[in-house]
């Protein structure tokens, strides 16, 4: 019995460690949230961007014997949207997951290479995963709000990351729900279960939940493919509006969508049994002057 309790206790400090790490960085967590809140209120979006870009250097992701991604090199500049496109099974989700180290959760999955977020190599050994995942938010294909009320979906992560000031939490809830255009729709039923929302609303709540943690990078894995066209359009517009404040990487099957909202495009393809990035560049040059023959076929095939 005692041994069990010890195990539980030993794991608990994660939370407080995080808080202190955060405090050292910014003085106090409350202050940090307050600062962030200002930036959220400042809708002019002309504040200097603080989010660092991502640089992938020769990233390999393999599951046991199969190579999902091999030698992926990619620059993902901050303050813009980079779209990752390619056929099914070419390793887009795997690459995305490796950026927030979600690949660690799959036992047989191994990631090698280097991924730089600003100056930090996030694949380095001693990386604090909880802190990393706070800096790198992730939105999944099917909306996955937690089975609790709408506001708890945002309050719980904030509190878990050490935020205790209820008035700041309330403001954050209001701000991020406003950011995703959900505030007016749900302000009268914040206490109701998030699972009662429509799919599109759930997905926007998931985005709001990520924003509340003030991340630097946002990863979207086909965020619209489980939604109806109208909700899909809303989420798309929302993502477009986020790019000035975050580094955004978006996996999509919808080339038209990539063309509409992405500034840069990377094309993923399966070659010799493993996925790799065959071409990347700004959206116009990829769609109008593709260099690689496969890119040409892929983009035009789906255009025509």
């Amino acid at each position: 019995m005692k041994a069990f309790m010890n195990v539980l206790k030993r794991k608990q400090p994660m939370n407080s460690e995080l808080t202190t790490a955060f405090q050292i960085e910014t003085g106090s967590s409350t202050e940090a949230f307050a600062k962030k809140e200002q930036s959220l209120e400042d809708k002019s979006r002309q504040k200097p961007l603080s989010a660092p870009g991502l640089t992938l250097k020769k990233v390999n992701v393999r599951y046991g014997d199969t190579n999902a991604i091999e030698g992926a090199c990619l620059d993902i500049p901050s303050g813009s949207i980079t779209a990752l496109v390619g056929p099914s099974g070419c390793g887009k989700s795997s690459l995305l997951a490796s950026i927030s180290r979600m690949t660690d959760l799959t036992p047989q999955c191994q990631v090698s290479g280097e991924i730089f977020l600003g100056k930090d190599n996030i694949l380095a050994k001693g990386t604090d995963l909880n802190r990393l995942r706070r800096r790198v938010g992730m939105v999944f294909q099917s909306p996955n709000p937690f089975p609790m009320s709408i506001e708890e979906n945002i309050r719980f992560p904030l509190r878990d990351h050490g935020m205790r000031d209820e008035s700041v939490i309330r403001k954050t809830i209001k701000n991020v729900l406003g950011d995703v255009g959900l505030w007016d729709e749900v302000k009268d039923r914040l206490g109701q279960s998030a699972l009662a929302l429509s799919g599109g609303q759930q997905q926007r709540l998931c985005i709001a939940r990520c924003l509340a943690l003030d991340p630097e990078v946002l990863l979207f894995d086909e965020p619209c493919s489980a939604l109806d066209p109208l909700s899909s359009a809303k989420v798309e517009t929302l993502i477009k509006g986020l790019k000035s404040r975050y580094t955004v990487l978006l996996v999509t099957h919808n080339l038209a969508q990539a063309r509409r909202i992405a500034d840069h495009v990377a094309v993923c393809w399966v070659q010799a049994g493993c996925g790799c990035i065959i071409e990347s560049g700004d959206t116009r040059s990829i769609f109008e002057r593709p260099v690689h023959p496969i890119t040409q076929a892929f983009c035009q095939g789906l255009q025509g």
Binding site: F4, L18, R133, R134, F140, P157, D160
Partner: protein, 280 residues
């Protein structure tokens, strides 16, 4: 196609058969108990001076309380331990250790109750006796039953925790939420109906357990005033007296059996309510 029809029919017949057997047992108990209830009513079973079957005093309250206390004590002990064990196996133990642990629990779940009783009698009772005589007591019964139901409480809790949708856990992990925070706010609440349905079913098992309890509880008919006093449970009473009971005495034992059956039916209904909650 033909075999399919026959399989369906066969299964349906078997299902009806087992359902009707339960019904027959219930009817049988009611039939056996009704003469005495018709004669003296239900009141005397809870108001008589005590349990003196020869004199026609059939006070069931001490034994009913004995059953409830022993089973309740066991559940109070086994539930937190079982949940902690399941959490450990699911979230903290390395996979190999968790597998070993689960195997051990399955093995323990298969140990016959009389072996638990025997262990209680030769190890636990003398040990309690040193703390507070006589040793054979409510506490001994609760401990032995707790040990007996712990494996299944832990295994059902383990299954309920494993059934929590991965997408919630992935979502929480992707936000960098602490493991304990995730367990507290997501895993446990989602798994709770499943855990509770397991606990309730095991409560029924503890209430119905006879042999182990008979061996370690001391079997004195009294309302215990402390955990160290001996008690007699309804089940132990039936087992002890059925062999020589006649007439009204025998009927009174059937009535206590009916009481037990009604209690467990209630518990099963509660458990299925929890299970329905989990599926929603």
């Amino acid at each position: 196609m033909r075999t399919n029809i026959w399989l369906t029919r066969g299964l349906r017949t078997a299902a009806w058969l087992s359902a009707s057997i339960l019904l027959f047992i219930l009817l049988f108990l009611i039939q056996e108990s009704s003469p005495l209830i018709g004669e003296i009513g239900l009141g005397p079973f809870f108001q008589a001076d005590g349990w003196y079957p020869q004199e026609g005093a059939f006070q069931l309250t001490p034994m009913l309380l004995g059953s409830l206390f022993v089973a309740g004590g066991a559940v109070l002990l086994a539930t937190p331990l079982g949940i902690i064990a399941a959490l450990f196996g699911q979230f903290y133990a390395p996979p190999a250790l968790a597998r070993l642990y689960r195997g051990l629990m399955e093995l323990l779940a298969g140990v016959p109750s009389v072996v638990f009783g025997f262990w209680g009698l030769v190890v636990l009772v003398p040990w309690i006796n040193r703390l507070a005589p006589p040793g054979a007591s409510l506490l001994a019964g609760a401990l032995v039953l707790a040990l007996m139901i712990l494996p299944l409480v832990a295994l059902t809790a383990d299954a309920a925790l494993a059934a929590v949708p991965q997408q919630y856990l992935r979502g929480a992990a992707a936000m960098g939420l602490s493991r304990w925070g995730t367990i507290q706010r997501i895993t446990l609440p989602v798994a709770m109906p499943g855990i509770l349905s397991g606990v309730v079913l095991q409560t029924g098992r503890a209430l119905g357990e006879t042999m182990a309890v008979l061996m370690v509880c001391g079997n004195v008919v009294q309302i215990p005033s402390s955990w160290f006093e001996p008690v007699r449970t309804l089940t132990a009473n039936i087992a002890l007296e059925m062999s020589y009971a006649v007439d009204q005495h025998r009927t009174a034992l059937f009535i206590s059996g009916l009481l037990l059956l009604l209690l467990t039916i209630t518990l099963v209904a509660v458990a299925s309510h929890f299970r329905r909650m989990q599926h929603e």
